[in-house]
């Protein structure tokens, strides 16, 4: 198995495990039996910081379009709508994270998973592709963040 990649956000190392797939909305994707499990990448978590509140506006069983709004998040540094990473069917949410979202921060790639979808994995990125995607956009992202904070 190949090694994980580390994307440097300034001095902060965002670790990207090699055994995961990635979506452009900064979610990781772990294929499991019959479904894909999604969570925030350490890149996304670094931008948001401590998660305070997570809310979903769709239900298990719903058919989702790619980029459909599915929820909302509030963190110490940010608010954001959340969107479907792929087209597919929402299988289930991680109820534990809904009750106490701190797992997103402490175990980003494990217990901090968000939801599972039945969807086509082939539309996701490899770790190298996601790294390249972050690298290509980092300059613009920084400009945007600095302009706002």
């Amino acid at each position: 198995m190949s090694e994980s990649l580390t994307f440097l956000m300034g001095k902060y190392p965002a670790v990207l495990p090699a055994d995961l797939r990635y979506a452009r909305n900064h979610m990781w994707c772990r294929p499991r039996e019959g479904a894909l499990r999604f969570g925030f990448t350490s890149y996304a978590v670094r931008l948001m910081q401590d998660v305070y509140f997570l809310d979903w506006s769709v239900n298990a069983g719903d058919a989702l379009q790619h980029k459909q709004q599915i929820g909302h998040i509030e963190t110490s540094k940010a608010v954001s709508d959340l969107f479907a990473p792929l087209a597919g069917t929402l299988v289930r949410f991680n109820d534990e994270v809904l009750k106490d979202p701190s797992a997103v921060n402490v175990d980003t790639y494990g217990a901090g998973w968000l939801f599972e979808m039945a969807a086509d994995e082939s539309d996701t990125l490899s770790v190298q592709e996601y790294y390249n995607f972050l690298d290509a956009n980092w300059e613009k992202t920084q400009t945007m963040l600095k302009g706002h904070m």
């Binding site: 452009r24 954001s80 969107f83």
Partner: protein, 341 residues
Amino acid sequence: MSHHRVTIVLSQAQGKNPAKRALEESLVAALIMEPGLDVSVIPYLYDIDEEHTGRLFLESVQGDMVVLSWLFPRAAFWLLDRDGIKGHWGETQLKPAADENEDEDETTVEPEPAKGIGALHVADRHIYCLDLRDFNAPDPYLVEIRRIADECRTRQHAKAKPVLVDLNLNLNGQANGASSPAFTPEQLLQTPGRRWYPVIDYSRCTNCLECLDFCLFGVYGVDQFDRIVTENQDQCKKGCPACSRVCPEHAIMFPEYKTPAIAGAPVGAIGGLKIDLSKLFGGDVKDALAQAVDERDRELVADGRQAVGMAVGIPKRQADKPDQPKDDLDKLMDALDDLNL
């Protein structure tokens, strides 16, 4: 000490934000020491329904009231009005720090005269709504609450009718706990399920009924005076603010919605917000009507119905309506547009 007591209601935030909890706790701790105030804590105001003890408690309060909540004051005031907890709008002097400079211009920035249809059956008391997001320390709130309490007493004295009933049944102004005796804190604070529904600001609403035409989920209706009401609040589709986008007077609020204008913000009061990463996480930005139509279609399809697009309930006036001026969030969105996600 005056017999006139003022009820302070603190409505908690949803979720587990430690900074919010800390502010709530320090406010309650300070307020229960203040003479002449009755302090109660209820869950997130927007979520409590008519079955909840918190609602029964609110209904039981007869006199002047100060409501501290994590909502824009307009949203809090009009959602109470919808729930039958009515009073005159209590004007607060509490202004978020960013607005301070505007105070000097007050003579020139006269608020537009209200052209809305107004509320019905308004009770003879004042309800002051304070936004807990304005300051992160208790002191500004405590100063304002003392000012409000004085204002209420002065108003009562002017009426020259002594208040005979002490609603909280306090003896000799004894400091009591955080709730009215009829309701235990446990009952009051029972976590309600989350809700989603529109709140109408009748000081702005002209009863044009565009929302009634546009919404296809039966949320809106009219009362016996043919006035618009949110008849079936819980038929509203979670996350969908479409009717708010088509309202020509911006009278419809969704207090939970992330865009301040829709959540009930006063004009020009969106400073100090957290960064919005929605674009980075994959959102699209469209004009208000197109967005409203999309949102409605999505909910129709989710209900197993046909999408109707622009075919039903489209307000004609929207055609020549200019886009609203860009706010800070829009600027951020533009920056994020360049990311080409």
